[in-house]
Amino acid sequence: MDAKRGDWVRIHNIILEAGQRAQNVPEDTQKVPLEMWVKGFLLDESANIGDRVKVETYIGRVVEGTLVEVNPYYKHNFGKAVPELLYVGRQARKLLLEGDEKDD
C-alpha cells in the first residue's frame, strides 16, 4: 500500500487523447495527449501508485485520477554553476572604472 486516506498525493488525468486535440495546434502537439496533474488529500481508504483514486484538493474540490505520487514536493532549484556568466560583473566593474581613471 502506497497511500492511505488523508495522505497528500498527486493524481494524473488525460484530458484529451492524441486524436482529440484542437485542430489549430501544431502537428507535434497533435500527436500527444493533453495531460493534467492536480494534488489533494486521498479520499480512498488506501491505494497504490497507478490506481484510480479520488482526492479532495486544498480548496475542497473532489477530483478523480490516477495516483502518481505521495507527498509530492518541488525539485526546481537555482541551477548548476554557469561559468559562462562569470565575466559579466568583473568586466562591467572594470569598464565603469576605466573612464574615471582618465578623468582624474
Binding site: 484530458i15 484529451l16 482529440q20 486535440r21 484542437a22 489549430n24 495546434v25 501544431p26 507535434d28 502537439t29 500527436k31 500527444v32 495527449p33 493533453l34 495531460e35 493534467m36 496533474w37 492536480v38 494534488k39 489533494g40 484538493t57 486544498y58 480548496i59 475542497g60 474540490r61 518541488y74 526546481h76 532549484n77 537555482f78 541551477g79 548548476k80 554553476a81 554557469v82 559562462e84 556568466l85 565575466y87 559579466v88 560583473g89 568586466q91 562591467a92 566593474r93 569598464l95 565603469l96 576605466e98 573612464g99
Partner: protein, 472 residues
Amino acid sequence: MTKDMSYEAVMLRKGEIMKKAIGIDYDKYESGSIAFDYEKMMRETGYSLQEVQEIQRSVSVGNTPIIELKNLTKLARKLAPKGKGARIFIKDEACNPSGSFKARRASVSCYHAKKLGYKGVIAATSGNYGAAVASQAAIQGLKCIVVQECYDSRGIGQPEIIEKARACEAYGTEVVQLTVGPELFYTFLILLEETGFFNASLYTPFGIAGVETLGYEIAMQLREKEGRDPDAVVVTNAGGGNLTGTARGLIKAGALDTKIIGASVNLEGLHMASDIQFNKKSFTTGHTGFGIPFATWPDRSDVPRSAARPLRYMDRYVTVNQGSVFYMTELLAQLEGLERGPAGNTSLTAAFKLAQEMDEDQIIVVQETEYTGAGKHVNAQLTFAKENGIEIIIGDPSEEIPGKNIILPKDPSYININDIELDRIRKSYIRNAINHTGVRSVTKEDLEFLAKDTKTDVEFIKNVLDEFGVKY
C-alpha cells in the same frame, strides 16, 4: 440533467460560462460591427483611479519605490555619443506582496469578486499573475484555482512555471497543471462552470484599471523627485495589459508627452503551442510569442473584449534577445545591488540601449522588476536551457537563434534593440479586425475606432483599407 462535457460542447457554452464568471454584459458596448465603446466599457465596469488606489492601499499593493540606476546610467553613457545617455530609473515592482506588478491587477479582480459575492476566483496563467491572484485571494478570504500550462509531453516542466505553482500553493491555492496546448481554455471553462468562481482574467477592465496606478505613480514620484515627467517609459509587453494600464495611468496623471515604448524578448521561430519547442525557450512571458499576436488581435483573450489594447498607446515597439536580458539581470545585481527575476528585466535591457539614443538630461523609466527565486533565476534558466540542447555562447547577440542558442553579449556595447515596424503590426491588426468580424464594409464609427485603437488617424485606416480592397 448531465451536461455534455465534450470539448466541442464546452467550447460552445463559452459565452454563457464567461458571462456568469465575469458579470459583464459585453454586448452593451458593441456596435454590431468592428467598433465597440472601449472607454464606456472601462468607465462603467471598471473602477476609478482613486477607487483603485484605495483598494490597493488596503491590501498593501503599489507605492513601490522608484530607483535611479546610477551605475547602469554611467555605463550606458560610456557607450553613447557625447551628450547622450539618459538617466535610467526603475520602478521596483518586486516590492509588491506577491513579488511583481501583477499584484495590482489581481487586487482589483479579487476585490471585485468578493464584492459581487463569488466564493472563489480562477485564473489561467503560467506567470506571475498566478501568485498574485493566489496572494490577493488569500487576503480576501476567497478560494483560488490557478490553471497552468506547465509541462511538455515528457513531463518536463519549465522551472519558472514550476516556481509559480509553488508560490500559488504557498498561498493556499489549488494548482491545476497541464501539458502544452491552447486547449487549456477547455479545462479552464470546465472549472469555471463546475465551481461558479469568478474569472480573474488578465484582460477585464478590473485587471487593467489595477495597472493604471503604476503609470500614475511613476509620474507622481518623478515629479516629486525630479520636478518633471519621464521622457520615455519602457514596458515589457506580452498580453498588452501592462503597457495599456501603465499608459492610461500616465495619461490620467497628465504626463501626455511621455513616450510609451514596448519591449519583448525575441522568440521568433518558436511556436508557442508546440510540444517540442515548449522547453526550448528560456522566457515564459514578455516575449514576442505573446506580444505580437496580442497586439495584432487583442480580442483573442479569455474575455469577449480585451481591456488590454497595446496598439492604442504604443509609440514604439522593440525586441531584445534572451542572452542580453540574462546579461542585464546580472548587471542589475552586480552594479545596482538589486537581484531580481530575469523576465521582468526585458524592458531594462531595452532601456539600457534606448538611453544611449537619448540626451543626458532626459529620463527613461523601466516600469517593473519581479522577484527572483528557485527556477526564476538566470542560473536556473541557463542550466535548463543547456539540458534542453540550447548552446550558451558569449558573442554577438544579433546572431542568436531562439531555440538553438542563447548569446550573451561579449561586452555591454553589444546589447542592441530591434525595432518592430509598428505600421506593419497595425495593418495586421486591421486585417484581423475585418476577418474576425466578417464585415464587408467598414462604417464611419469603425474608421474612428480603428484609428484610436491603432494610435493613427482615419486617413491611415482608409489607406490600409484601400490596400486591402475593403469598402468604407
